[in-house]
């Protein structure tokens, strides 16, 4: 049950440097594409570079794109984020459309999502607005000056009304009505 021996670090849902509060900063810093100009496994990546890469670079001027054509090497992308984490992704035998989606994924995440196990799916700086519960929250203030044990606080007050009690209340009501009519 404890987390000590697991490789995967755990953490909470956080935005680095209060990202959305001021302006939004795209957390992806740079992508390095390594691919082969002729092998079959890098076909998808080659198609992506030919067709969609320029559009990607135009739309995201904050991401620096490096291309490394290397012979006889499988296609790989390394994404580096602003907090220093690197995500290594293997694009071997992936199709053009798959690569498109993965790159969109890399662009919109903030640091390596797969490396951290989220302990909770929410985070807040202000968990309570009315104030956290204390034993004093719903306590009757009369208990402060009462000498305990006291019958007033000890007797059961949720029992149903007895017949005698009902009669007595009727009598009291009648007395009040008499006083009103007398006035």
């Amino acid at each position: 049950m404890s987390n000590k021996n697991l490789f995967f670090k755990s953490g909470f849902v956080r935005a680095p440097l209060q990202n959305g509060v001021g302006r939004y900063v795209c957390q992806l810093q740079r992508i390095v594409f390594k691919f082969c100009k002729s092998s079959g496994g890098s076909r998808g990546l080659r198609d992506y570079i030919e067709q969609d890469l320029v559009q990607f670079a135009e739309q995201n001027p904050s991401v620096v794109v490096y291309l490394k054509p290397r012979r006889h090497r499988s296609p790989v992308a390394v994404a580096e984020y602003l907090n220093g984490s690197r995500v290594w992704m293997n694009f071997n035998q992936k199709t053009h459309s798959e690569i498109l989606k993965w790159i969109e994924n890399l662009r919109t995440q903030q640091d390596d999502v797969a490396a951290t196990r989220l302990r909770k799916y929410q985070y807040t700086d202000h968990p309570s607005i009315q104030g956290p519960w204390t034993p004093f929250t719903f306590k009757d203030p009369e208990l402060n000056v009462a000498e305990l044990p006291n019958v007033k606080f000890g007797a059961n007050n949720r029992l149903p009304k007895t017949a005698t009690e009902e009669l007595r209340l009727l009598f009291e009501k009648q007395k009040l009505e008499d006083v009103k009519t007398a006035e």
Partner: protein
């Protein structure tokens, strides 16, 4: 942690001392209520690993009321561990020997049988009569309401209240009360 957060946590996890008057109460029914306060189940911050239970002080445990024939027929079992060490004690015998035992056993039985039970029982104080040690009395800050109605003895009602109480009918002056 700033001072404000520190005292806030201190207050949220503070342990209250409750007092419960066992006069005329069924120990097994009251044990269900007492165990809730001892374990901390009445708090919104409850968690079994949280150690959030409160202290309960039971007074007048000599005046408890068992149901029906229990005083004569309910037997409490005890085994010393040695061969031939089994003993069955009836409720009235046990109560005479130690007036706090019945309610203690009742609360112990009401709780879940886990390893926390013995530790939680340490938070329960039982006194046979009205007298409590002074330092415990000063700690007490809340009273747990009883479950059963404590009937009032007719001759303990003050005179003036008897005379002022509304009557449905008046007995005729020469009526003889048996």
């Amino acid at each position: 942690m700033s001072a404000a957060k520190r005292v806030q946590q201190w207050a949220t996890f503070a342990r209250t001392w409750h007092i419960f008057d066992c006069k005329w109460q069924d120990p097994y029914q009251s044990a269900n209520i007492i165990k809730k306060y001892l374990m901390g189940l009445h708090k919104p911050i409850y968690h079994p690993m949280n150690d959030c239970g409160d202290v309960v002080v039971c007074i007048n445990s000599r005046e408890i009321a068992l149901r029906g024939d229990d005083w004569r027929k309910r037997a409490y079992f005890h085994h010393t561990g040695y061969p031939g060490g089994a003993s069955w004690t009836l409720a009235w015998e046990l109560h005479n020997k130690d007036p706090t035992m019945i309610i203690k056993k009742a609360v112990y039985r009401a709780m879940k049988g886990n390893l926390q039970r013995r530790h939680t029982m340490e938070r329960l104080f039982i006194y046979p009569g009205e007298e409590i040690p002074e330092d415990i009395k000063q700690n007490v800050s809340n009273q747990i309401r009883q479950l059963r109605l404590v009937p009032q003895r007719l001759d303990h009602i003050p005179e003036e209240e008897v005379q002022q109480y509304p009557k449905v009918m008046e007995y005729p002056p020469d009526y003889v009360l048996k």
